[in-house]
Symmetry: C3
Subunit: 343 residues, 3 copies
Amino acid sequence: MGMTYTARELAERVAGHVEGDPDRRLAGIAPAGNAGPEHLTYVVSEKYARHLASNDAGAALVPPDLEVEANGTTLIRVENPELAFSRLIVLFVPDEDRRPGVHQTAVLETGVSLGVDVAIGPFVVIGRDAMIGDRTEIGPGTVIGSGVTIGNDCSIGPSCTLLKGAVVSDRVRLHAGVRLAVDGFGYASGPEGPVKIPQVGRCVIENDVEIGANSTIDRGSLGDTTVGAGTRIDNLVHIGHNCRIGRNCFIVAQVGIAGSSVVEDGVRLAGQVGLAGHLTVGAGAAVGAQSGVMTDIPAGEVWSGYPARPHRMWLRSTSMFYKLPELVKRIGAFEKTSGKEGP
Amino acid sequence: MGMTYTARELAERVAGHVEGDPDRRLAGIAPAGNAGPEHLTYVVSEKYARHLASNDAGAALVPPDLEVEANGTTLIRVENPELAFSRLIVLFVPDEDRRPGVHQTAVLETGVSLGVDVAIGPFVVIGRDAMIGDRTEIGPGTVIGSGVTIGNDCSIGPSCTLLKGAVVSDRVRLHAGVRLAVDGFGYASGPEGPVKIPQVGRCVIENDVEIGANSTIDRGSLGDTTVGAGTRIDNLVHIGHNCRIGRNCFIVAQVGIAGSSVVEDGVRLAGQVGLAGHLTVGAGAAVGAQSGVMTDIPAGEVWSGYPARPHRMWLRSTSMFYKLPELVKRIGAFEKTSGKEGP
Amino acid sequence: MGMTYTARELAERVAGHVEGDPDRRLAGIAPAGNAGPEHLTYVVSEKYARHLASNDAGAALVPPDLEVEANGTTLIRVENPELAFSRLIVLFVPDEDRRPGVHQTAVLETGVSLGVDVAIGPFVVIGRDAMIGDRTEIGPGTVIGSGVTIGNDCSIGPSCTLLKGAVVSDRVRLHAGVRLAVDGFGYASGPEGPVKIPQVGRCVIENDVEIGANSTIDRGSLGDTTVGAGTRIDNLVHIGHNCRIGRNCFIVAQVGIAGSSVVEDGVRLAGQVGLAGHLTVGAGAAVGAQSGVMTDIPAGEVWSGYPARPHRMWLRSTSMFYKLPELVKRIGAFEKTSGKEGP
């Protein structure tokens, strides 16, 4: 099995303070509700702290001031237990699957440049003149087009497609089935119907972006589609051609963003939100789940609804929507007592 | 070509009763509207029975009491024609594509365990210590992570990804492009912005589950994401981390379920429904297409709308929504005749 | 680098008329805002024409009558600059990645028929008796089932799946991760719960269809699912079994169409639209983004909303939805002044 660590060793790594037995030895991690004597767990509030009173967890990361009935569990007091726990997980669940080197089945065309310590999996295809940065891992079955560049310390695939025009920076993580630099949906009207406009722009993914499984991002039609540094994109998201997505955005599963829209820094789009094309969502704005955005949203505002409006406005109207039957009765009763019938 | 069967032979397999020529020989199947003399078809109601009067179908499965103008077609009376037809289809359209054995191009890492009569296709990758059950088929290009277990009689792929943490039981069917045990969308707030929480839980798929093309299911963050026995999931569905989906649910295309939600047994979610995180849909409940569920739904209820509410409540309010212009006129007229103008 | 062309040469190819230096030599293309002396660009309206006054673009395609401050840029007057530009793009961005021949790693089962000049990429799998037409390209990792037929001049993949039952005509373009002829979501009710109905119909894709990345189209259950000639489908779209999609439709990203629905010729479905099953959208109709269609739509009409209604009706009701709080106040005020309180 894996390594074990004492509570003291763990506390030192996250600048925590031990209460109870510092020599308690931990061999794994578990949620608070399932933790046994060999497990490290964490709690952030009273609600979860109650688990510790009723089980025999080995050790728990807890906030500085939370009252906890420890029941023999060694407590490690830290400012941010969730963050501290995140950092300790890798000790117990190491990534042993990385295989530096190029698998013998991979197909590399001419002019491919590989950084140091890359890990290229089975059945990977890398096109002419593509560049893969240092320590980057390409999972099995991923296809990389000609001229594509990928930076350092990226994790790509398995089964991704990075077509010609994709430009990926450092520490980018693409989950299974992501499609980058797909042709956008662009047609010119010709005399005999629509004519496909060849899509020749780039799809630029900046540092530290994460993109969820089976999401698709179009290349620019002529210029660039860009996703800014630190932005997190969930599964099955669609981003159309020529969109500019800012830095540190959160884009939750199944969101769709039509072509040429601008999403500024720090925006949060909840699940299944749809954005029409050619609009702007201002920096720091947030949009509620399933909303349909058809106009610009000013910076910092929270919007919801279909079509989306400021969240409070939508909330008020929605609450009245579900009281419409009662409202109609009031109007009817009123018309009646006044001797006037409605039309 | 394929095998042929007499109407009598077919009737025996589904406990049916023949009316007409029992020696009629059938060589194929077709919808009632297109059936010719060599075809078996089926009808469930008068609407489709009319086809039989106007064509020369060879034989038709029909309900016990349905009046049919047979026009020479041999009738096979059965309790449930659709079910009986389902069972006879394989006689005419056998699956001849199964190739037991391990294709020479497949890559199996150390410690992989294979059951009897497995069929492993070209360009499959199976990671260290993974286990594949008896008679299970893995389609071309599917990637299976280290330590993944798959039960007996499963049909997986092509082009699926079962990452580390996936645990698949018996008779599970994954269509092309399914992604199991994807990292969930989990971030802790750190001093310099969000920090990815390593996702180390499992993605547990119980017996007889079917999952549609390009659907994605996250692994648990620390515990499990589970899909209960007999649940059917359509194409392009997203299920977030730590969700617990019950047994015998129907989840239609493009549904999205945010993290940590609970969908109890026998729930039906229609197409494009969105469920927020951390909520519960009670056993046997049903949710109408495109609804946005933001609160718990009690067992057995039918809900619809955005935000979702009990279906009748939504229906009533929706019908009035589309009468709002008329309602506003009534109010205006009333204010006028009363000598009071609205604000 | 690539070829260069004079403004005169380019004008001749699109029947344009040169204003300015016909010998200006162009080496590339760029959007109007970024164009330099070596670039061809285009503008369609005053809004973009202003870019030409402030940069030093080499040449620009412009409409016949648009007033342009050329600032040294050679103008090429054409009826439809966007269309003309579309046709010239390939001169500057040639597709050099096509590799006629069959890659040595591809797996072709018995009876496969290949047309002339096909280009079959690495790790492609082609099943028994499949037929691939002349000059068709199959990208890396694409899997083609037994008996599938693909016409001439198609571009398929990478990483697509065309399962048994897929029938693809000429000049069809499938982007990465498309799944054709997937099993539909069909179950018969049996005594012990739902029983899967084997799906044995076809998935017929007519000439000149384009399908976006990670979209999924089910095969017919018994008959056909069809997509008509010239129809364009964007990314992450789902089309259920037995649907009939007409010719020259536009189906934008993340649309979902439930089983057995009919979409007639020339229909436009905007992003994230959902269609219920067994309904008809008439020829030339259009549906607004995110709408939920639950009834037939007559030919030529524009509908929106959830549930969808004629667009003007939805617009009016929606504008009043967001004025409901004000409306309720008016009713309350009125009841008060009349000495009557609401219930």
